[in-house]
């Protein structure tokens, strides 16, 4: 069953199409990764899907409700948490929970039960009366997610929920996302971190308002880059890169720390050709060359560069 169905969704600001004819579906209970650079149209898409921004054309069904015709029903059935924690810093933990419970009409036993749950997931048991402003970032973020799903929505939208949070907190946060998903909640999450994208069941990549790729992480890695990729480590990274870029058989290059990733245009090129070029012709010491499975980062850089070239 599909939780979200997006059909030809378009949003124009004047002549500029921030979101251009986007289609995708999200299955119930899955973690759906939504990737793209800043300004690619992620937030605009999400704002339309949560019923805050009206699309210029197209439509989407969120939890079975049309965002064009029933935005109010959409709002009742989703949870939303943005990169800016939407908690009131001048309220205590308990007061924040009380407020959002009130907004979603929870009371009595149900309220007590959900309050307990939020405190538990945020690790804030016995800290109810702490002012939210004094909580550390990671805890605040868990509390924000807890309050965002206090009404147990079937679908949750997380807009860059982990930006600016330390790795341990990020890990804990993803455990929480996994728990939600295991409980049957659909989670649509946007992120900059490609390691986080690996946790997603399905991923879409958006660039300049257009959908560029979709699939699970394995499909993305195999379907979008057919050419072999080599990882090269030398003692002169930048010089090596300049030499490699002059060769016809080199498609794209990118630097990952001390390593160079090269996408080859020519299947017949092997590790030996690289060593010959760098070490024997140019005297650069090649420490290591190996053929690798592309990372998501390789795939995305490849796709976005390709797309930008086409647009230009």
């Amino acid at each position: 069953m599909n939780s979200i169905e997006v059909n030809n969704l378009t949003k124009k600001f004047g002549d500029f199409a921030a979101v251009d004819n986007v289609n995708f579906t999200v299955k119930q209970g899955e973690i759906f990764g939504f990737l793209g650079a800043n300004g690619a149209g992620k937030s605009t898409t999400i704002r339309m899907l949560i019923g805050v921004l009206e699309p210029t054309s197209g439509d989407a069904l969120v939890g079975g409700y049309s965002i064009m015709k029933q935005p109010e029903m959409v709002k009742k059935n989703i949870g939303y948490m943005s990169q800016k924690f939407s908690l009131y810093n001048d309220l205590t933990v308990a007061e924040n929970i009380r407020f959002y419970a009130g907004v979603y009409g929870l009371d009595g036993k149900k309220y007590q039960e959900r309050k307990k749950w939020v405190l538990k997931v945020a690790n804030l048991e016995n800290m109810e009366n702490t002012l939210t402003s004094s909580l550390p970032g990671g805890i605040k973020q868990r509390l924000a997610l807890g309050t965002a799903v206090i009404h147990e929505p079937k679908i949750v939208f997380l807009d860059e929920p982990t930006s600016g949070v330390d790795p341990v907190s990020r890990r804990n946060f993803w455990d929480l996302i996994n728990d939600l998903s295991a409980g049957g909640t659909t989670v649509l999450v946007t992120t900059h971190y490609l390691d986080e994208a690996e946790f997603c069941n399905d991923i879409i990549l958006i660039n300049a308002g257009k959908l560029v790729a979709q699939g699970n992480s394995k499909e993305l890695k195999t379907n979008y880059i057919k050419n072999p990729i080599l990882e090269i480590e030398t003692d002169k990274t930048v010089d090596s890169l300049e030499i490699l870029e002059k060769e016809k058989w080199v498609g794209e290059t990118s630097i990952f720390g001390n390593y160079i990733h090269v996408i080859l245009n020519d299947d017949t090129i092997t590790e030996k050709n690289i060593i010959q070029l760098l070490q024997e012709q140019n005297g650069i010491k090649v420490k290591r060359v190996e053929r690798i499975v592309p990372t998501l980062e390789d795939v995305f850089i490849h796709l976005i560069e390709k797309d930008n070239k086409q647009n230009a």
Binding site: G51, L53, E54, K75, L91, Y100, G102, Y104, D107
Partner: protein, 377 residues
Amino acid sequence: MLNRIFAIAKKELKQLSRDTRMLFIIFFFPVVLLIIFGYAINFDVKHIKIAVYDQDKSDYTREYVNGLISSEYFDLITYVQDESEIKRLLDEKIVQVVVVFPNDLSRKLLSKQEVKVQYLIDGVDGTTASAIQNYVNAATYSYSIKLTKEYLAVTGKNLYVPIDLQPRFWFNPELQSTKFLIPGLMGMILIVTAVISISLSIVREKERGTIEQINVSPLSSFEFILGKTIPYIFISLINATIVLVAGYILFGLVIKGDLFLLLFGTLTFLFAALGLGIFISTVADSQQVAFQAANVTSLLPSFMLSGFIFPIETMPTAIQVLTNVTPAKFYVVILRAILLRGAGISAFWDQLIYLGIFGTVFITLAIIVDKRSKGKQ
């Protein structure tokens, strides 16, 4: 729906209780204004400093001067010995008025000739100067009548005065300006606190991004705004009570009219004021801008144009039209009617309608601006 509105109102009060800056503006500001306006700004002209240049030094002049300084309007500062001193006394503001009796005053009076007494009045402050002029006119007139009576009595006749003026001031018999000012002051305090507090409280949510979470929730704009305004309506009513109690304790202002009407008029006024505040919150994106806008649209007009201090009737027509920009103008009329005159609704129903229109116009504008900005985000 009620639950959701209540949740917002409760949250708002909790936040307010921790916002010392805002609490200061809301509760301290009225008290300060009341004290400043009540005590410092006093339009009653009393204890005018007077100097006497008596070149005659007769019983007449002594009696005349006694007549002046026996009232609380004049305080005798000094006797002037020669003419050059007069200029110094007025220049250095040691006195506000100098009375000059000619040296032939008693001689002329005894020979039944007309006498001229000169008053030199400091005319820098026009209002005070004309008040002084009125006082000395009255004092001179009554002394003149007394002399006439004495003269006629000697000749065995009674003075016949055809028309005797007997003015009585209603509603504010002692013509105390504080009593006249308090209704205006109350209007000014309520509009400033209401407009500032509601606009800041909404814009703060925009600035901190919490409004986004509200937009995504099933809360409608109506519920959100209503939930936000309820606490400020109560706070404004508390403020109004503070002003009235302080007005009674400090200045002896007694509410002559109906308390229910007062409450009703105040609520109608708050509707207009909060409408203005809500409108400001839709056009301002930062608390700073909202604060400035709230100040400019509430404080200045309610001070200058509400008729609170400067009577609207004496303004040029163009300015009279401009006075309609502040709901305080209508509220001041209502308050003066209820507080000072004890008048019923027939005296100010039209003002209530103006306030209703004012509030409706601004809330409608706010809805239009809000809808437009939503399409652009």
